[in-house]
């Protein structure tokens, strides 16, 4: 798991350092404050794991090339140029680094005209082999048939997190004896709420099966398809508490009904109790509030809220982190409700008190 993440002069960030919870991290912030970039940068820095898992003797050049390719494919900068991810106006190099829980480290730099990342520090990075999972905003079950082949062949406008998730979903199921107890529990809960389960036939073909019938995955509610993604990732062991790398999830709330939202938070907390690090980006009050309400300190739950905001004086993106829901500041999600309160007072009380 990632303990600390540092980004300097990279995309929206001039200088940002985050100390992450080993359990649940919730990133909030207004549009344009870099929530998705933060998740993607962290995910990109985890890209060494699949490389070293398959091959132990990777040269520095190979690692630089692999991490460069990963960043380019997940960020899709203009003209496919690494330099386009350098923070506009900064004179220093872009710098990205992650420190993992066993002391492994990766730090890399690049500049406006760089063709590839320059690794500055990769202490024990080869030992970090826990693969991360990134669930992007859009659900993928509705279009994953043939998606991977198309992605390999054509320059689609999907970033690589979509290909990665499709590949993870198409992995075979892990053996039942390997499946974590909590994964089984979560899969059963999701099946209970959806009234059936998604069946993966390989090659991206997915259907939804109830006790009596089988349907096209596309005919199912989008919220169910999102829950189905989580269930499948548990089934394939792509998410395996205590074994897999961090789970990054960008806006899990989209199209989820309130029942699913509560279940999702229950599952994420349970996975985190069993060693799964989680990083979410959200705009949703209900999701945020469920973490606050369902968090059980008796079970040693730990949720850290990271609020990204633009400093009013310097316009730089900064972060404020807290474990206390009520003290999240600034909190644009709650402030949206605050604006409604202001308007209502103005409508009803006019100039009174002003």
């Amino acid at each position: 798991m990632i303990e600390r993440l540092e980004l300097r002069n990279f995309t929206a960030f001039t200088g940002l350092a985050l100390d992450l919870s080993p359990k649940v991290n919730v990133i909030i912030g207004e549009n344009g404050t870099g929530k998705t970039h933060l998740l993607k940068a962290a995910y990109g820095l985890c890209a060494g794991a699949p490389l070293f898992k398959n091959k132990s003797d990777i040269s520095g050049d190979e690692l630089e090339a692999a991490l460069t390719a990963k960043l380019l494919r997940i960020f899709m900068p203009l003209d496919d140029k690494l330099g386009k991810m350098h923070h506009q106006g900064s004179t220093d190099q872009a710098f990205l680094s992650a420190r993992f829980s066993q002391g492994q480290k990766i730090a890399a730099t690049f500049f406006n005209n760089s063709k590839a990342l320059a690794i500055q520090d990769s202490a024990n990075y080869e030992q970090y082999q826990a693969e991360a999972v990134f669930i992007p905003t859009k659900e993928v079950l509705s279009f994953m048939k043939g998606f991977n082949s198309l992605y390999e062949k054509y320059g689609l406008s999907f970033d690589q997190t979509y290909q990665d998730i499709c590949l993870s979903l198409d992995l075979p199921e892990v053996r039942p004896e390997t499946l974590h107890e909590k994964s089984k529990w979560a899969m059963a809960e999701i099946e209970g709420i959806c009234g059936g389960r998604f069946i993966f036939y390989g090659g991206g073909k997915v259907t939804f099966k109830t006790e009596n019938a089988e349907y096209s995955a596309n005919s199912m509610a989008e919220g169910f398809r999102k829950a189905g993604i989580l269930s499948r990732l548990l089934e394939t062991g792509a998410i395996q508490p205590g074994v897999s790398g961090p789970l990054f999830w960008d806006e899990p709330e989209s199209n989820l009904n309130p029942k699913l939202m509560k279940l999702l938070v229950k599952i994420l907390l349970e996975l985190s109790r069993n060693g799964q690090q989680i990083m979410l980006a959200t705009h949703d009050y209900v999701l945020l509030k469920w973490f606050d309400l369902l968090m059980d300190k008796g079970k040693e739950d730990h949720v850290r809220f990271h609020s990204l905001y633009r400093d009013p004086e310097t316009s730089e993106i900064k972060v404020a982190s807290t474990e206390d829901f009520l003290t999240i500041t600034p909190n644009p999600i709650d402030e949206a409700f605050g604006f409604l309160i202001n308007q209502e007072i103005e409508n009803d009380m006019g100039g009174l008190g002003k």
Binding site: D296, D334, F337, G338, L340, I341, I345, D348, M349, G353
Partner: protein, 177 residues
């Protein structure tokens, strides 16, 4: 300027004609409440309106332990607490209105503002529920006047943002948490 202190908060009503602790329990004070009725914490009078203020500081755990709940059971009681609080705020307003009616002090529109240390989202929910049940406006065709012209539920930040002429600050309570 009328300065009123109640329940650990100090209000400075810079443009009030009058402002006082409405549920005054000290019988030696001129504004002693003295009736077997509930009462809001503060009533302030302005040229064009009355404002009733009710305070609930949820950061004081000695009053509401439910906020610092650590188990599921305790949390479930939060919902009950929400309903309880809504009714509490509702009946406080109604009894205060009756009391003021007896004082012949209901001739101006009355705004009810509850200062509750929740987040904005929860305060919005409380305001919506309270507005329906208070009720705000003329609730029946038979009514010729409203009990409450409006009701609002705000935290300290929102209070100060919306009512800059009535700034509120916390005051240290001797022996308090």
């Amino acid at each position: 300027m009328k300065v009123v202190e109640a329940d650990g908060f100090e209000f400075r009503f810079t443009d009030a004609l009058e402002a006082f602790v409405f549920d005054e329990k000290d019988h030696t004070k001129p504004k002693f409440h003295g009736a077997p009725m509930k009462g809001v914490d503060i009533v302030a009078e302005f040229e064009e309106a009355y404002v009733y203020v009710e305070l609930k500081d949820y950061e004081d755990p000695s009053i509401y332990d439910v906020v610092s709940a650590t188990t599921d059971d305790e949390r479930h009681s939060r919902q009950e607490c929400f309903k309880w609080l809504k009714n509490y705020l509702k009946y406080k307003f109604r009894d205060s209105y009756l009391y003021r009616h007896a004082e012949q002090k209901v001739e101006k529109p009355i705004h009810y503002v509850c200062l509750i240390t929740f987040d904005n989202a929860l305060n919005s929910r409380m305001q919506k529920a309270l507005k329906q049940e208070l009720p705000v406006g003329r609730a029946s065709r038979r009514w010729v006047q409203a009990l409450a012209a409006s009701c609002h539920v705000v935290n300290v930040d929102k209070w100060n943002e919306n009512f800059p002429k009535w700034p509120v600050t916390r005051v240290a309570v001797a022996g308090g948490a």
